[in-house]
């Protein structure tokens, strides 16, 4: 099934719903309606002044109407309507039950693909991916055939002035958000309404608008990744050479002492010749020396006392003790860029996983320090610092819950649970603080715990899962997370006034992830991809073994499929026009007819063509096809990275056991509110329009939603 376009056609802006359509002062002054015959200059000045005053007054009308109007949105990533209903019926979620009784509850139609960056971008902007330009976690630059994060991009600093091993950039670098469109709270801000936006995904760096915002998912860690933990072990050979989302370092225990380093970001003030260019020079090759920036490091020492079952840590000028299986508080870490002059501030937590017989130490991704942020993680810039002074340091990077550490066996399930609960409690404290100090017109608070918990704990709950594990505590883990969010809702309901519109929503729901689909392998089997060396099918990085001249399409990202188009892809082989269209038709049929030979299931239930099915200026910039997998299936983790595992269909036995990056119709989110919902099938884009409508603000013509909340009496 394709995404119904008719549903978009219904989404007209509300007629007569916004009697005070704002008109700016500039619009009024330059409107032909205000043109008058030539008058005395003094008269003209007076008239202009009066007009400006009138227009200022007119532009303030929406604010006046909205005076006292407050809306709070509790955004719970990944809360599923069926699970919610089940837990409510079991009596585990009294606050949700009460809110449903007071107002309404509906599944909330999510986006295609139902990935968090895509769905939250739609919620923010009221546009589909064709409008906001976020189609996946990962986008591909077809001219280089290189993957990149879809959410934000770093801008390099100015041309450096080099002096030996020193390098001084003439201007600082920056970072910019890749999402297009105006967020609804910016639109509220244009009407003088203030918002507090706490950890909204895909809002790094936070957009500027009246009020305050802290960036959420998509915020990098200090080294610029979306979260890279460090794991120090004295038995390096027991671990794989490299893992995604983390670095494993071998250390030596000498006289009960471990000396190691925290690896920070590259130091752009220093440069050293690369080993390669020095080697070439040594061999007599006439090459110009190439330089690279060394990483900034911070030494630390661990003094082990196995008899006590604890160790003393010395990190910079800080000292602390950890017992085995114990977490530290946030430790301030400083990296020296220019000795005695410039430092880069960060924070990390240490977890002493094992002292003996093997030494194992986990360190969280290095955070951008909220107390002294090196990148703009909040708006205004010092808000992260203000929060820090009230709450202490906190996780600032992308997604705090370290699913990768669990996935790669660095954490056990219980350790992951403990770390996840710590992150949840930080959010909980932040929400209490925000509720206590809420003086803005609009408040949004985001919780990601349910999403991350459902990803990693599904196999404990579901005996049908290929990776099912019996664990008396964790089999109820997802239910416990829902209960915890119910407690949060209880706090919110107690804190807000009766007049406040309360919306609890999620960006998507959840489904089990039983079977992995290696889509690139399937495309290879079907003859759409040709490898340069078929004997090396399972080796190589990001399509490095692909013969592009004989390849028609490839899969990248969790749902994306790209045609190898001439003029767009680096080694394009398919001509635009009839060949492209025929191939698209052929692929659509083949994908929908795909069968898992092990059980005759159909792994794909939906094929979407963004160029046809989406609206907006960005619709041509995404994949050519979005693949919607059936319940139980999802893309493997290897295929999105341009790899070709041997089998196209594999049982998923990893802890990442629940998912939502499938057919969007299978995984709607939730909409629970203290207002009546006028539509049986509200969408994320509808919610955006409805929130604007609360303040009497009309949607823009690019927005595809409609008003679905019944006006309050």
């Amino acid at each position: 099934m394709k995404k119904p376009r008719s549903s978009h056609a219904e989404l007209e802006p509300p007629k007569g719903g916004t009697p005070n359509t704002p008109q700016t002062a500039i619009d009024c002054v330059w409107s032909p309606a205000f043109r008058r015959p030539r008058r005395h200059p003094r008269q003209n000045e007076l008239s202009r002044a009066a007009l400006v005053l009138l227009c200022c007054w007119l532009s303030s009308i929406p604010s006046l109407f909205a005076a006292g109007r407050k809306v709070m949105v509790l955004g719970i990533d990944g809360m599923d309507p069926k699970l919610l209903q089940t837990f409510v019926e079991q009596g585990r979620m009294p606050n949700f039950k009460a809110l449903m009784a007071e107002g309404d509850f509906r599944p909330l139609q999510t986006t295609m693909p139902p990935q968090s960056p895509v769905a939250w971008s739609t919620f923010m902007t009221g546009m589909d991916p064709g409008g906001h330009g976020i189609f996946d976690f990962i986008h591909v630059d077809p001219s280089k055939m290189a993957p990149y994060s879809s959410m934000a991009q770093a801008d390099p600093g100015g041309r450096p002035i080099n002096a030996g091993t020193w390098s001084f950039p003439t201007s600082g670098g920056g970072v910019h958000i890749l999402r297009k469109g105006t967020t609804f709270w910016q639109m509220l801000g244009e009407r003088g309404l203030r918002s507090t936006i706490f950890r909204m995904p895909v809002n790094f760096p936070p957009v500027k608008s009246p009020g305050r915002a802290l960036a959420g998912m998509g915020t990098p860690d200090l080294i610029g990744s979306l979260g890279t933990f460090s794991f120090y072990v004295d038995h390096r050979s027991d671990w794989p050479p490299s893992i995604s989302g983390g670095e494993i370092y071998g250390v030596t225990v000498t006289s009960n002492r471990v000396s190691a380093q925290l690896n920070g970001p590259p130091n752009t003030f220093r440069r050293f010749p690369t080993k390669e260019s020095l080697d070439l020079r040594e061999k007599g090759r006439a090459v110009s020396i190439e330089f690279e920036n060394p990483k900034m490091t911070q030494d630390f020492v661990v003094h082990l006392d196995s008899k006590a079952g604890a160790a003393k840590f010395v990190v910079g000028d800080q000292e602390f003790i950890l017992k085995e299986k114990e977490w530290s508080d946030w430790i301030h870490v400083e990296f020296e860029a220019i000795p005695h002059l410039m430092t880069v501030s960060s924070a990390a937590r240490f977890y002493l996983k094992q002292l003996t017989p093997k030494f194992e130490l986990y360190v969280t991704p290095l955070q951008i320090d909220p107390e002294d942020p090196v990148m703009p993680i909040s708006h205004p810039t010092d808000w992260s610092k203000q929060l820090c002074s009230h709450l202490g340091r906190y996780y600032t990077h992308n997604i705090p819950e370290d699913t990768q550490a669990f996935n790669h066996g660095v954490f056990t399930a219980r350790e992951f649970w403990e770390q996840m609960i710590f992150a949840y409690e930080e959010r909980s404290r932040a929400m209490d603080y925000l509720l206590k100090h809420q003086d803005e017109d609009f408040l949004f608070v985001y919780f990601g715990t349910v999403d991350q918990g459902c990803h990693m704990l599904w196999h404990f709950m579901d005996p049908r899962h290929p990776g099912h594990v019996k664990d008396e505590l964790l089999k109820d883990g997802i239910a416990k997370l829902y209960e915890m969010l119910d407690i949060q809702l209880g706090r919110v309901r107690a804190a807000i006034g009766k007049e406040t519109t309360l919306v609890v929503m999620s960006d998507h729901g959840f489904a089990p992830f039983y079977w992995e689909v290696n889509l690139n392998t399937w495309l290879l089997e079907q003859g759409y991809i040709t490898l340069k060396d078929p004997s090396k099918q399972e080796s190589g990085e990001f399509f490095s073994n692909v013969d592009w001249s004989r390849t028609k399409c490839y899969a990248a990202g969790l749902n994306g499929l790209y045609i190898n188009l001439k003029g767009r892809e680096k080694g394009g082989s398919v001509t635009a026009g009839a060949e492209y269209e025929n191939l698209m038709d052929q692929l659509e049929k083949a994908l929908l007819a795909m069968k898992d030979p092990r059980n005759t299931n159909s792994p794909v239930s939906l094929v979407t063509r963004p160029r046809q099915d989406f609206q907006g200026a960005e619709k041509d910039k995404g994949p050519d096809i979005l693949v919607g997998y059936s319940r139980g299936y999802r893309s493997s983790s290897d295929s999105p990275l341009g790899l070709f595992p041997k089998a196209a269909f594999v049982d998923n036995k990893s802890p990442w056991s629940g998912d939502h990056c499938i057919d969007y119709r299978v995984v709607p989110g939730i909409l629970v509110t203290n207002r009546r919902i006028t539509s049986q099938t509200p969408t994320l884009a509808d919610l955006t329009v409805s929130l604007l409508h609360e303040y009497g603000v009309a949607p823009t013509k690019e927005m595809i939603g409609k008003q679905v909340l019944e006006p309050k009496n």
């Binding site: 003094h303 006392d305 160790a311 003393k312 000292e319 602390f320 003790i321 010092d382």
Partner: protein
């Protein structure tokens, strides 16, 4: 020497305790401003008393005259350079008149800085907050008897970890957590002797002694918060790693030393006319 240092500490602790007690209700910044003001005035007054004011005044007048000369004779290079030499010579004379009073001023300045660090350097633990207790032994050989070295804490303080022995550094460390507000004694015992170390939990602007030491008269002077550890003890020092106290200035946290130095200099200069002191 150590006992003399202890006696001096007792006197200074009393004086500053009274002064601090009178001002601490103002909060960290304003109480520090008050002390900086008094310090500035005191320093200028002492400078006036210990310096040759007549000589300083004469030297300054002469320097001013030479500087005027520089402006008047800037077209005559020979005279100009002659005056330059005079300026240099009189500047050295000025420094000569100032150096002795400055050296004398260093004594009260150091005492004041030590006392202020006691009150503004660190803050007490908050309830629920943890800190490292570090016991340093005099000799590595004492580590052999490590099993008998124990830490006892009152109910208001929770000892969260066993003692972590670090033979390289001759240290044994514990982690303690404040349970209730107050000032308590931690007792470190080697089986024969017991040494107490004060711990502060809670309270607004309480001065805290970070370390109890007894190795020398100098360390005793530098750490005046508690009586020195007897020399016969195997324990060299007991330290508690309290969090630093930040003074908020325009919302920015700052170490106390920066505003103190600026304020005492500015306020001292502001009062020199009133005190009739030439600097």
């Amino acid at each position: 020497m150590t006992s003399a240092a202890s006696a001096l500490n007792a006197v200074f602790n009393l004086v500053f305790g009274v002064l601090y007690g009178m001002l601490k209700w103002l909060g960290p910044f304003w109480s520090l401003t008050g002390i900086a003001c008094l310090t500035g005035i005191l320093m200028v007054w002492i400078f006036g008393k210990v310096s040759n004011q007549t000589a300083i005044e004469r030297t300054r007048d002469r320097l001013s005259a030479e500087l005027i000369g520089l402006r008047l004779f800037k077209d005559d290079l020979r005279v100009f350079f002659g005056i330059q030499f005079q300026v240099l010579a009189w500047t050295f004379k000025y420094l000569r008149h100032s150096i002795v009073p400055m050296l004398i001023l260093m004594v009260p300045t150091v005492i004041i800085l030590i006392q202020l660090n006691l009150h503004y350097g660190f803050r007490p633990l908050r309830t629920g907050e943890s800190a490292l207790v570090k016991v340093k032994l005099r000799a590595a050989s004492a580590m052999a008897a490590e099993s008998s070295l124990t830490l006892r804490a009152p109910e208001n303080l929770q000892v969260e970890t066993p003692g972590v022995h670090v033979p390289d550094l001759k240290e044994i460390c514990w982690r303690v957590r404040g349970v209730r507000d107050g000032r308590f004694d931690l007792i470190v015992s080697d089986g024969k002797d017991s040494i107490a170390k004060q711990v502060a939990v809670g309270g607004r602007l309480e001065g805290v002694s970070t370390i109890r030491t007894g190795e020398s008269w100098l360390s005793c002077l530098l750490n005046p918060g508690e009586a020195p550890i007897p020399v016969q003890s195997v324990i060299e020092s007991i330290e508690i790693r309290y969090p630093e106290l930040d003074i908020l200035i325009l919302g920015k946290p700052m170490n106390w030393l920066i505003p103190f130095l600026i304020l005492s200099l500015v306020l001292g200069f502001a009062f020199k006319g009133v005190l009739g002191v030439k600097i």
